[in-house]
């Protein structure tokens, strides 16, 4: 194979097959992938753990499981332990008999086989299934400057922006291949110049903007470029648990309505704090966001339900998975609103989703019983994978997640609106 990239002796030896033919093919894949984007070298992965986007044993992905078998048989295993996106199934989540049968025996019939492969390849532990692996409770939290081989878009944008790690928006399989050779091609968001902002986003709203709508608006405008956001710091204050949760949801929306891999929030995110407006490229474009612009974005969300005014049958909150602070806050809000309305339980089957480790922690607090009493179901499921099929797609489902809205038939409501919806409506 001919390549332009400068390789170290070790990398050359891997490519020449000195660590086996399979590992050589993995290295070839990574080099060819990098050269398409002008990578000049391979950079060592420095994070403690990897994170994989594929968590589902979807029958349609048999080719992936065959490839993983090839890697396992050749001993080409991940050099790092890894976490993985959430499981697609959870018996706690409402589903009728037909749905349960189809999910288990048809759609996700490879789930057990796939999880066994993940264990052989280097899965961190049985709880390691969440899209928010960077939560303290989960422990896959990269340090500032760490080089990663992650792929889950919402986790990549969080790691780059909120933690200051360095990772491109990789595809599934490329993620694990990086961990197998220990290197990723150096281009894009791994480079200082790739982390500079081509857009200045000025926030001129009359109140703290809804994270999901703001992210959606920015994602649609800048697509894959880096935005530098001015004027949001006055609403976020400092990078505490609440701000981190806000930025998690904001970032997921930028990455699902666009392909944003990194954003800077003035005075808040680590690189913006360190370098300030030096991060902005000359001739950067300007995008002003006010109340009217957010309203325009919201009004343009399509409703893809067959019967547009159908009564919602299910509600998902937590895509990406909720943080502990969000679980606590939602518990307070649901309980207070039910009390105000004279109700005991939520009026629509409602599922809050969070990482298994976050759920365990939450269960050890008094708030768990309070939430349980409201009738809300707590689950580790991936709502996106749950809904991404013709059966579940027909159920009128509501959400306050822009990501879930983008990829499924779920209808979007703001957080305040959805609280009203699940607690008896406006009557």
């Amino acid at each position: 194979m001919e390549y332009k990239m400068k390789l170290t002796q070790e990398q050359k030896e891997i490519l020449e097959g000195k660590q086996g033919e399979t590992k050589a093919k993995v290295m070839e894949t990574m080099i060819r992938y990098g050269e398409l984007f002008g990578a000049d070298s391979m950079e060592k992965i420095t994070s403690s753990y990897n994170h994989l986007v594929t968590s589902f044993g979807l029958k349609a992905l048999t080719a992936v499981y065959d490839l993983l078998d090839e890697l396992i048989e050749a001993g080409a295993l991940s050099e790092q332990k890894f976490t993985c996106d959430p499981r697609p199934l959870d018996p706690n989540v409402p589903a009728n008999l037909l749905e349960k049968f189809i999910f288990k025996n048809f759609m996700y019939s490879k789930q057990e086989q796939y999880e066994a492969q993940l264990e052989k390849l280097g899965l961190l532990n049985k709880n390691a299934f969440t899209c928010t692996c960077y939560m303290d409770e989960v422990g896959n939290t990269p340090k500032f400057g760490d080089v990663l081989s992650w792929s889950e878009s919402s986790a990549v944008v969080y790691a780059n922006s909120v933690l200051g790690a360095r990772c491109n928006r990789n595809s599934g399989i490329i993620d694990i291949m990086g961990s197998i050779v220990g290197y990723v091609p150096s281009f894009g968001l791994l480079k200082d110049e790739g982390r500079k902002a081509k857009w200045i986003v000025e926030i001129k709203t009359s109140k703290k903007p809804e994270a999901q709508l703001l992210g959606s608006a920015i994602g649609m405008k800048v697509v894959e470029d880096v935005p530098y956001v001015i004027g949001l710091d006055k609403y976020l204050g400092q990078l505490d648990d609440n701000a981190k949760a806000y930025l998690k949801d904001f970032g997921a929306a930028t990455a699902s309505n666009g392909a944003v891999g990194l954003y800077h929030i003035e005075n808040i995110t680590p690189e913006a704090v360190k370098y300030g407006r030096d991060l902005i490229l000359e001739n950067a474009q300007v995008y002003v966001i006010d109340d009217a612009e957010l309203e325009r974005v919201y009004k343009n969300y399509p409703v893809v339900w067959k019967k547009k005014d159908a009564t919602p049958k299910l509600c998902f909150i937590g895509c990406p998975h909720l943080s502990l602070a969000q679980l606590n806050s939602w518990t307070d809000r649901v309980e207070a609103r039910l009390k105000e309305k004279g109700l005991k339980k939520v009026s629509i089957p409602t599922v809050f989703t969070a990482a298994p480790d976050v759920i365990e922690k939450f269960k050890s607090t008094p708030n768990y019983e309070r939430l349980k009493n409201t009738g809300v179901i707590l689950s580790y499921i991936c709502p996106l994978m749950y809904m991404n099929n013709p059966l579940a797609g027909k159920v009128p489902t509501i959400t306050c997640s822009n990501k879930l809205r983008t990829y499924t038939t779920a209808k979007y409501y703001t957080e305040d609106e959805i609280l009203v919806e699940i607690t008896g409506g406006n009557k």
Binding site: R32, L36, T54, V64, S171, I173, A259
Partner: protein, 148 residues
């Protein structure tokens, strides 16, 4: 006939009829149903893509600006190739994105009996010119010939 020249991502020579998407192709949304339910034509299942929705993608010259959507995109494309439900070729008007690139390279490196030439950076004029059912020939050097 008009010729365009792009960059070779995965080489090969092939002739096929065009299907054109002017918006980014959401790989997961487009291929998932076809792969899941045994549709050998790989009928596009993405309702948000009016150019392609309901049209056959397998064996066609898929002309597009870029791919969008879930970062599972690369592995979904790889699976389509392994199941022999891939487009005959993929022709990008823009520089290829990281997800499509991963799918194209994975198929080229890991699948022995599958050939899906991929050319990118063909330019906006290419996507404006090409229409559904035009005959397209891609050559090893990245030349793309479009016959009316």
């Amino acid at each position: 006939m008009k010729e365009f020249k792009g960059r070779v991502v995965a080489g090969g020579t092939m002739t096929a009829k065009a299907v054109v998407s002017h918006a980014g192709l959401n790989t997961l949304a487009s291929f998932q149903k076809a792969l899941q339910f045994g549709d050998k034509k790989a009928t596009c299942g993405d309702q948000n893509n009016p150019d392609l929705y309901g049209k056959q993608m397998a064996g066609k010259a898929l002309c597009l600006p870029r791919t969008i959507g879930s970062t599972t995109g690369g592995l979904v494309l790889y699976c389509a190739c392994q199941m022999k439900r891939q487009p005959a070729m993929m022709l990008f008007s823009e520089p290829i994105d990281s997800l499509a690139a991963a799918g194209a390279i994975l198929a080229d490196v890991w699948l022995k009996d599958v050939k899906m030439p991929v050319v990118d950076s063909l330019g906006e004029e290419f996507l404006n010119y090409v229409k559904d059912d035009m005959t397209i020939t891609v050559k090893e050097d990245g030349t793309v010939a479009v016959e009316d």
